[in-house]
Assembly symmetry: C2
Homo-oligomer: 125 residues x 2
């Protein structure tokens, strides 16, 4: 499981960790029912604070992407149909990034082409 943290990024470390774990699941490198490393071992591997990993795991649990099972650890959830709240979250996030791409002068076809390339690495929903 390859995770790379950029300490100098403007994106908080726990958010980087959340996003990279979500990408690993989208790519199928982490499968439903896989157990994530313990907070202690992942923190040690990445050289980050245990509190940071713990915060990332709880954020993933809040999004229903993993379940935290006492004594067993963090387990990747099954992928199901999106809830209305999840659809709203994605729509909102797309509005933001697509508005930003427009303001940067990116062409719509160019943005769609980048999106298609990215999605080709991800599992079919």
């Amino acid at each position: 499981m390859f995770i790379e943290i950029e300490p100098s990024s403007e994106i908080p470390i726990y958010t980087q960790l959340v996003n990279q774990l979500i990408e690993l699941i989208a790519k199928g490198e982490l499968q439903p029912n896989d157990t994530l490393p313990s907070v202690r071992s992942l923190a040690a591997d990445l050289g980050v604070n245990m509190h940071t990993v713990n915060k990332a795991y709880h954020e993933l649990e809040r999004k229903n992407i993993i379940r935290i099972i006492p004594k067993s650890g963090a387990v990747v959830s099954e992928i199901t149909t999106p809830t209305d709240e999840q659809l709203a979250t994605i729509t909102h996030a797309l509005k933001t990034v697509l508005a930003e791409s427009t303001v940067y002068g990116m062409n719509k076809d160019e943005v769609l082409s980048i999106a298609l390339t990215i999605m080709s690495d991800y599992k079919e929903g």
Copy 2:
């Protein structure tokens, strides 16, 4: 200029403000060279702290989306060709949201259809 802040959202208020101003520019409701309201008046209109508006304006300046001109105020920048850094920012943001949509079980065609609908409200780059 219609801006709606949700104080109960998990998204920080200054980020909501940044995102909504970017959307207004993408929609053409704010045009290049338009002057944004003063920090004081926008803060009063929205019922938020002046510091929050100031932080949002400086974030937009950092992204080169507005220029802050002493004594004149905040002015919307011209839209030009995206820099490599801007392309990288958009690609990174798309990776994150598309991974999240995959993990939520959304179908790729469904995501593209939502993206096209959103972009139809935005200017051509």
